[in-house]
């Protein structure tokens, strides 16, 4: 109960760090899938990289006191655009086009939130269904794949291959955490981002263009979701209409476990990634245990509820002065 | 204490009240008593503890130690509902009216008159409308405002008038006005101050909170000054001029000794 514990506990990602530590202890003791085997951890890390990428974007949006429910659909749509357009545009063109689609969805949603003055929850709930509907309409429900020679394209390998035996996705995620954490905590823009989420009126009165900051946050979030799709499909280029279904909930869950409180101005990118790791590893363990897939979503729900309550308590306790 | 018990007990009495918010000591051993038919000016800078004190009286905060007596009876549970039951009405600048409801509904919010049909409690619209229309007419709202209009259409002064009207109509014994004239035009401010004096004349206890000592000195019978969570001065109006009181506030608690020498207590 010393001061330093409180300072550490005041970190928004405190809960997630404890969670990860607990997870390692529990899964080392009760082991269903060969937890410490390279293959298991490797698989979990790869899934974590993809979910973590989306969760980082979600955390940024939550930091400006908004929410983006559309990331799962944007993830799916970007992936399908990448695979489908590849036939006409080639790998670089398709990648660019797919990311453009992702970015413009984010931009459109930001415009609806800012110019239309309606809650982001409704806008992105609409976006979730519009983008998912677009997937259905576009593909007609069919499964798409990519020809083998396109898979071997260097750009595809850059995102989906391996380096020193580590999946490229993991390296990309590590790069993103470092880069975006620097942006959020060390730059002028990051400062404005946190100010906008913390107290929008104060930020406005200090001359911060909060509408621009929010727009950037939304676009960044959609781009990260799109990037996650490219990381996924560069590795395993098969799509179906349910690609990214419920992913938005997992991303929000990861961000919430990582210490984002929906009250804005607070959060942690590293926490979001750790949250993604917790969710992914639990899922992996449950599958190895032979639990029916349906229990998994129940479990994610329960974890989010627990994280919500826990973080609320933690925030109250940590802000209390000794 | 025995003297106080023999005398007719004051309407509100507070003894040795302490309240902490975490490490922040918001009220430090505050003791004060208020009688009916007085207009009290409760003055102090921001964070002096005046709003905290009235939040205890209106049941929003529970004190850590000390006692509160309403009409000689000790308060055991702190809840807004109980304060309302005793007849304490708090008028806050931005709180008390729901913009999305009609004036009539706001008027009776929390104690709606009902008519039972087959055991179902229906709102008594006729009574609600009549009472609120009366207040609209007597408290100087625009002529085209009706009891069915939404509160969001009203100006700041009109809102205050509705709240004051509500306090009078429900035969309250205590009306606490928290910065009632902020954001009001000069004319509206005078109107609200007149209403405060009217309530006092009707025998109510009016506690008027402000940091404008000159304004309240004109109205009040007694001035209580708070500073850093403590009561520093408590004088009848004629004992000190507004300028002297202002000096007390300006110097914080430091000239208290001097001030109390001036005021024979």
């Amino acid at each position: 109960m010393t001061l330093s514990t409180r300072i550490f506990a005041r970190r928004p990602d405190f809960g997630a760090i404890i969670g990860v530590a607990l997870l390692f202890v529990v899964f080392s003791l009760i082991d269903f899938s060969g937890w410490w085997s390279g293959r298991t951890l490797g698989n979990i890390l790869q899934f974590t990289a993809i979910l973590g990428c989306i969760a980082i974007g979600q955390a940024i949006v939550i930091m400006v006191k908004e929410i983006d429910l559309s990331v799962g659909s944007v993830y799916g749509l970007t992936g399908i655009a990448y695979i489908t357009l590849e036939a006409d545009l080639g790998i670089p063109g398709a990648m660019l086009a797919a990311m453009t689609i992702a970015g413009s969805i984010g931009f459109l949603q930001a415009m609806a939130v800012i110019k239309g003055k309606i809650p982001s929850m409704i806008v992105t709930l609409g976006g979730l269904f519009a983008a998912r509907g677009l997937i259905y309409v576009w593909t007609g429900g069919s499964v798409r794949t990519m020809p083998a020679d396109s898979r071997a394209h260097w750009l595809n390998q850059l995102f989906g291959g391996e380096l020193f035996g580590i999946d490229a996705a993991i390296l990309w995620l590590a790069l993103l955490i470092v880069l975006l954490s620097l942006v959020v905590w060390r730059t002028k823009f990051g400062n404005r981002l946190l100010a906008t989420g913390g107290d929008e009126n104060t930020a406005l009165s200090q001359g911060i263009r909060t509408d621009r900051v929010k727009t950037v946050a939304f676009v960044l979030c959609s781009l990260l979701a799109g990037f996650a799709a490219i990381l996924t499909l560069a590795d395993d280029p098969r799509t179906h209409v349910t690609l990214g279904d419920l992913m938005e909930l997992e991303a929000i869950a990861a961000a919430v476990i990582g210490g984002c409180l929906l009250t804005g101005g607070r959060g942690s990118l590293l926490g979001a990634v750790l949250g993604a790791f917790i969710i992914t590893s639990v899922r992996y363990q449950m599958i190895s245990l032979g639990a029916p897939a349906s229990w998994y979503i129940t479990f994610v729900g329960l974890v989010v509820i627990a994280a919500l309550i826990f973080n609320q308590f933690l925030a109250r306790w940590a802000t209390k002065q000794a | 204490m025995s003297v106080a018990a023999i005398k007719k007990s004051p309407l509100i009495e507070v003894r040795n009240l302490n309240l902490h918010f975490g490490a922040f000591h918001a009220l430090k051993n505050v003791s004060v008593s208020f009688e009916a038919g007085q207009l009290i000016g409760l003055v102090g800078d921001n964070g002096a503890g005046k709003t905290t004190l009235i939040k205890v009286l209106s049941g929003i905060h529970k004190p850590n130690s000390g006692e509160v007596y309403f009409d000689g009876e000790k308060v055991r549970e702190f809840h807004p509902k109980l304060a309302i039951k005793f007849g304490i009405e708090t008028l806050q600048q931005s709180v008390g009216l729901c913009d999305n409801l009609s004036i009539a509904r706001n008027f009776y919010l929390g104690r709606e008159p009902i008519k039972r049909w087959f055991g179902i409690p229906f709102l008594d619209f006729k009574k609600m409308r009549e009472a609120s229309t009366k207040v609209i007419r007597t408290f100087g709202l625009r002529d085209n405002v009706s009891a069915d209009d939404l509160v969001e259409m009203l100006s700041g002064g009109e809102r205050q008038s509705i709240k004051i009207g509500r306090a009078v109509e429900f035969k309250n014994r205590v009306v606490i006005m928290d910065e009632p004239t902020n954001h009001l035009s000069v004319r509206e401010r005078e109107h609200v101050n007149e209403l405060a004096q009217q309530m006092r004349d009707q025998g109510l206890l009016v506690i008027y909170i402000t940091h404008d000592i000159h304004q309240v000195h004109k109205l009040a019978d007694r001035i209580v000054i708070m500073e850093n969570g403590e009561k520093v001065t408590d004088v009848a109006k004629h004992e000190m001029t507004a300028d002297e009181l202002e000096e007390v506030i300006r110097c914080g608690g430091r000239v208290v000794e001097k001030a109390s020498e001036v005021a024979p207590s």
């Binding site: 609409g126 349906s294 979503i297 509820i305 | 729901c98 509904r105 179902i120």
Partner: protein
């Protein structure tokens, strides 16, 4: 003067927008569908869909009125249907219906309790309970569907709860009318309704008037859960079977119906008639797409666009109505 009175009308009756849209859509659909849309059979089926969606949305609108939101209604709907269909053959329709309603109430109580006790965002919490109970529903059915044998589907009580018709329309529709009437009395003519709207308008003001805000919110969540489970019961009774995926997408349609109907997302303004008309509009669009042979996938895309467009236009209409006195 004319403009002023229209403004006043819009200000006091937020459902005007959706009623106008509904009239225009009905006219458009009747003239462009080559008599396939406006048939008695199709209208009756629209009425049935409107009934279940409407009941669901009515509950959601009450929660929205208190300034919270309940996304979990889709799962509660599914659980309601499963509980009803799973027990109706053994204990009879009325107890089964009550059991389903109790399950709905329990989910609502859980949502309300966690939201008010811990101060958790209701959006995130109900999003989580949506997942939890969707998973429970799938696990309950174990991937198969619950169904009622044909022999059991003829009883009066079974027909009463969505399994039959009355005056040519599914009984669910009459339940909607009943529910709408009861809720309108509750919301506009009783102290409970006033307090519910007060909590949504300004929780702080409501509290200062001695209203127990927590209790009002929990009550709204419970009513919402019961109505969602009842809607599920009616849908289950109509279909005679249900699987774990029952009620998917219903939560969004319910929220959409509320927004379309002129309920304020941040609370304090609820238009029950508007909500039901909103549910009708969504059902009508869905059925128009079906009868015109448009792939149902388009509905999903449209739904997303409609929700956002409705929210934006509602906002602008409201701003316009409030602009001048």
């Amino acid at each position: 003067m004319m403009g002023l009175s229209i403004r006043q009308l819009v200000r006091q009756h937020s459902e005007i927008g959706i009623i106008l849209i509904a009239i225009l859509l009905v006219m458009f659909f009747s003239t462009t569908s080559f008599d396939r849309w406006a048939t008695a059979y199709n209208l009756a089926s629209i009425a049935q869909i409107t009934a279940t969606l409407g009941l669901l949305a009515l509950g959601a609108s009450l929660v929205m009125g208190t300034g919270e939101i309940d996304i979990s209604v889709g799962s509660t709907f599914g659980i309601g249907a499963l509980v009803y269909l799973g027990t109706v053959a053994t204990i009879g329709p009325l107890p089964a219906m009550l059991l389903a309603a109790a399950a709905g109430a329990a989910i609502g109580l859980f949502n309300g309790f966690i939201v008010t006790r811990f101060g958790v965002s209701s959006l995130l919490l109900t999003l989580s309970t949506l997942l939890v109970f969707r998973g429970v529903a799938v696990a309950l059915t174990d991937g198969f569907s619950f169904s009622v044998p044909y022999g059991e589907r003829s009883g009066f009580l079974y027909q009463l709860f969505g399994g039959g018709d009355f005056l040519g329309v599914n009984t669910g529709f009459w339940w909607l009318i009943l529910g709408l009437a009861v809720l309108m009395v509750f919301l506009y003519a009783t102290p409970g309704g006033s307090r519910l709207l007060a909590v949504g308008g300004s929780a702080e003001s409501a509290r200062s008037r001695g209203i127990r805000v927590t209790r009002v919110k929990v009550r709204a969540f419970i009513i919402c859960g019961v109505l969602a489970a009842l809607a599920g019961t009616l849908e289950g009774g109509k279909l005679g079977f249900a699987d774990g995926g029952m009620g998917r997408l219903m939560e969004l349609q319910a929220i959409a119906a509320c927004v379309l109907g002129g309920c304020a997302l941040l609370g304090g303004r609820v238009s029950l008639v508007g909500v039901v008309v909103g549910a009708f509009v969504l059902s009508a669009i869905q059925s128009y797409l079906v009868v015109n042979g448009v792939r149902p996938q388009w509905f999903m895309l449209l739904l997303g666009v409609i929700v956002v467009a409705a929210a934006i236009s509602d906002r602008h209409l409201r701003d316009w109505a409030l602009r001048s006195r």
